[in-house]
C-alpha cells in the first residue's frame, strides 16, 4: 500500500442509519449497528490507480451480514471499477458481530485539471431471522489529477505514444544452468554409486586381515574359551576372503605357495590351523590356547594385516590362483 493505514485523517463515518424500524422489528433496544469507513489519502489519484476502502460494519448480537446483498466486483460507473471485495468476519470486543470489508476500486477517470470524484455509497443488508435492516457504506470523495499537460509545452508530437512492449524470446540461460547443475549432480551421484558398489576403479582392495584384527581387538573376552573361539573364527573368515574360497588346513600350502610374501608366517599359520582344529573339533579345547595363546593369535593377525597392507595377500594374487 502506498498510504499509511493509521492516518489520523482517516474518515470516521458512523451511519447510525438504520432505522428504527429494524430495531423495532428485531425487538432489540437501541442498537449500535453502524459502519466505520477507513479511507486512504483523498488526493493525488491518477488514471488507472487503485483505491482501497476499508469499512468496518458492526452489528447487534444475533444479526449477520446478508452476503447476497454484498456488491459484486463490477464496473460501478463508466470510469470506476470495483475490482474486488474481501469480507472478513470478526467479533467486536463486546462480542457483537463485526465485518471488515475491503473494497478495492480502480479509477479510469482522466481529468483535464484536478477534480473531485465520488465513489458512490454502497448499500448493505443485515438479517436476523426474518428481520432485515439496511446499512450504507458512505460515499467517499477523492481528488483525481491529470497525468499529462493540458497543452504540450514542449516541442514534439503531443500525440506520441509510449512504445510497445516488444516480444522477447524465451530466456534459456536459467534452464541451461539448471541442466548443468542436474548433469553435475547426476555425474557426482553416478560416481558415488560406483564407489559404493565397488565398481571399476573403486573396487579397491578389501583388507580381510586388517578387518579381522580390528574386530579381534574389540572382543571383550579374548582370554576366555568363547572369546578365543570367536577370534579364531574371525581369522578363518579373513583367510577365506583372502583365498577367495573356504580355506582348510590342507589348502594352506597351496595358498602360501601363491603368496610368497606370507612365507615368513608359514609356521604361525600352520600353528593357527592346528590350534583351530583342536579348539573346535578336539577333545580338549583348552590345549589350543596353550598351543597358540591369544596374544600370539593377535600377533599373527597383526603380521598378516601388515603383509596385506603391502599387497602380499591381495586380490591380484587371488586372481592368479583362480
Amino acid at each position: 500500500m502506498r498510504w499509511s493505514r493509521s492516518l489520523p485523517a482517516a474518515r470516521h463515518c458512523r451511519t447510525a442509519a438504520l432505522a428504527l424500524f429494524g430495531a423495532l422489528l428485531a425487538g432489540a433496544p437501541a442498537h449500535a449497528a453502524g459502519v466505520d469507513l477507513y479511507a486512504p489519502r483523498a488526493f493525488g489519484y491518477l488514471i488507472g490507480d487503485t483505491i482501497s476502502l476499508e469499512a468496518v460494519v458492526t452489528l447487534d448480537a444475533g444479526w449477520r451480514l446478508d452476503e447476497s446483498a454484498l456488491p459484486r466486483p463490477r464496473p460501478v460507473t463508466y470510469w470506476l471499477d470495483l475490482k474486488r471485495l474481501d469480507v472478513k468476519p470478526e467479533t467486536a470486543p463486546d462480542g457483537a458481530p463485526r465485518y471488515r470489508l475491503t473494497l478495492t476500486y480502480q479509477t479510469f477517470y482522466s481529468p483535464l485539471e484536478p477534480r473531485a470524484l465520488d465513489i458512490p455509497a454502497v448499500p448493505l443488508a443485515a438479517r436476523k431471522g426474518d428481520a432485515r435492516q439496511t446499512l450504507t457504506i458512505p460515499a467517499w470523495t477523492f481528488v483525481s489529477s491529470p497525468l499529462r499537460e493540458l497543452v504540450a509545452s514542449q516541442r514534439g508530437n503531443p500525440m506520441a505514444l509510449q512504445p510497445d512492449i516488444r516480444p522477447r524470446p524465451y530466456p534459456l540461460a536459467g534452464d541451461a544452468q539448471l541442466a548443468a547443475a542436474a548433469a553435475a549432480v547426476a555425474a557426482a551421484s553416478l560416481l558415488a554409486f560406483a564407489a559404493a558398489s565397488g565398481w571399476g576403479p573403486f573396487a579397491g582392495r578389501s583388507r580381510p586381515f586388517a578387518t579381522a584384527l580390528r574386530h579381534m581387538r574389540r572382543l571383550p573376552d579374548l582370554d576366555a574359551q568363547l572369546g578365543y573361539e570367536d577370534a579364531l573364527q574371525l581369522l578363518h573368515r579373513a583367510f577365506d576372503e583372502a583365498a577367495g574360497q573356504r580355506l582348510f588346513a590342507e589348502d594352506v600350502p597351496g595358498f602360501l605357495a601363491l603368496r610368497p610374501a606370507l612365507a615368513g608366517e608359514a609356521e604361525a599359520i600352520d600353528r593357527f590351523f592346528t590350534a583351530s582344529r583342536i579348539a573346535f573339533f578336539g577333545d580338549a579345547p583348552e590345549t589350543a590356547m596353550a598351543l597358540l595363546p591369544p596374544e600370539a593369535l593377535i600377533d599373527l593377525a597383526r603380521k598378516l594385516a601388515a603383509v596385506e597392507r603391502r599387497g602380499g595377500t591381495g586380490q591380484g594374487t587371488r586372481k592368479e590362483a583362480a
Binding site: A121, P167, S189
Partner: protein
C-alpha cells in the same frame, strides 16, 4: 559386524542411485523445455526479422505474442485480435503486454485516420484502444505506459454518461457507455 559395513555401503549405493534418478529426470525435463524454447525462439526471431510464419493458437505464449506483434505492426489488427484474446484468456503474464501493444496499434491507426480528418473510422478504434488499455491496467495497475497512452486516447474521445442517474441506480447498475463524441482534434490547436 561385516553385515553392518555391507549395510552402510548398500544404503549409500541406494541413496546415490535415488539422487541419480532425480537428477536425470531433472535433466530430461530441463533439456526438453530448452529444446522446445529454442525451437520457439527460432520462430520468434524469424517473425521479428519480418518473415510471415503462421503460428497455431495453442502455441507457447511468447510465440503467440511474437506473431501478434508481427501482425499488429503491419496493421493486420483483426488477425492479431484472436491471439491477444487467447493470451488474455489464459492469464498469461504476457496478456498485459499483448493488450497494451494491440491498443497501441489501434490508437496509432486512429490517429492516422484523424490526421486525414477521417473521423468516423477513427472513433471505434479509439474506443477499442481504450478498452484494451483498461484491460491491461486492470491486470497491472502500475503500468505507467498504459496509463499515459490511455490518457491520450481519453482526450481524443471522451466518455460521457448519457443519463445522470440517481445515486441508487448508479450503485446498482452499470451505466453503459451510451454515447461518445469527439470534441475536436487536439492537433492543430491555435
Amino acid at each position: 559386524m561385516k553385515l553392518r559395513i555391507l549395510g552402510l555401503r548398500r544404503i549409500a549405493a541406494l541413496a546415490s542411485l535415488a539422487v541419480l534418478t532425480v537428477a536425470l529426470a531433472m535433466l530430461a525435463i530441463t533439456g526438453t523445455r530448452m529444446a522446445l524454447h529454442a525451437k520457439a525462439n527460432r520462430t520468434i526471431a524469424a517473425l521479428a526479422a519480418g518473415r510471415d510464419l503462421p503460428v497455431e493458437l495453442d502455441a507457447p505464449d511468447r510465440l503467440l505474442m511474437a506473431r501478434a506483434h508481427f501482425l499488429m505492426i503491419r496493421d493486420r489488427l483483426d488477425e492479431a485480435q484472436p491471439l491477444v484474446d487467447r493470451l488474455a484468456a489464459d492469464r498469461s503474464p504476457l496478456a498485459v503486454a499483448a493488450l497494451y501493444d494491440l491498443a497501441n496499434a489501434r490508437l496509432a491507426t486512429a490517429i492516422s485516420f484523424l490526421e486525414k480528418t477521417e473521423i468516423d473510422p477513427a472513433v471505434p478504434q479509439v474506443r477499442l484502444a481504450k478498452a484494451g488499455y483498461r484491460a491491461a491496467l486492470v491486470r497491472a495497475p502500475d503500468f505507467w505506459d498504459a496509463k499515459y497512452n490511455l490518457d491520450i486516447a481519453m482526450r481524443l474521445v471522451r466518455d460521457f454518461p448519457q443519463i445522470e442517474q440517481d445515486q441508487q441506480d448508479e450503485a446498482q447498475e452499470t451505466p453503459k457507455r451510451l454515447w461518445t463524441d469527439l470534441p475536436g482534434l487536439p492537433k492543430g490547436l491555435p
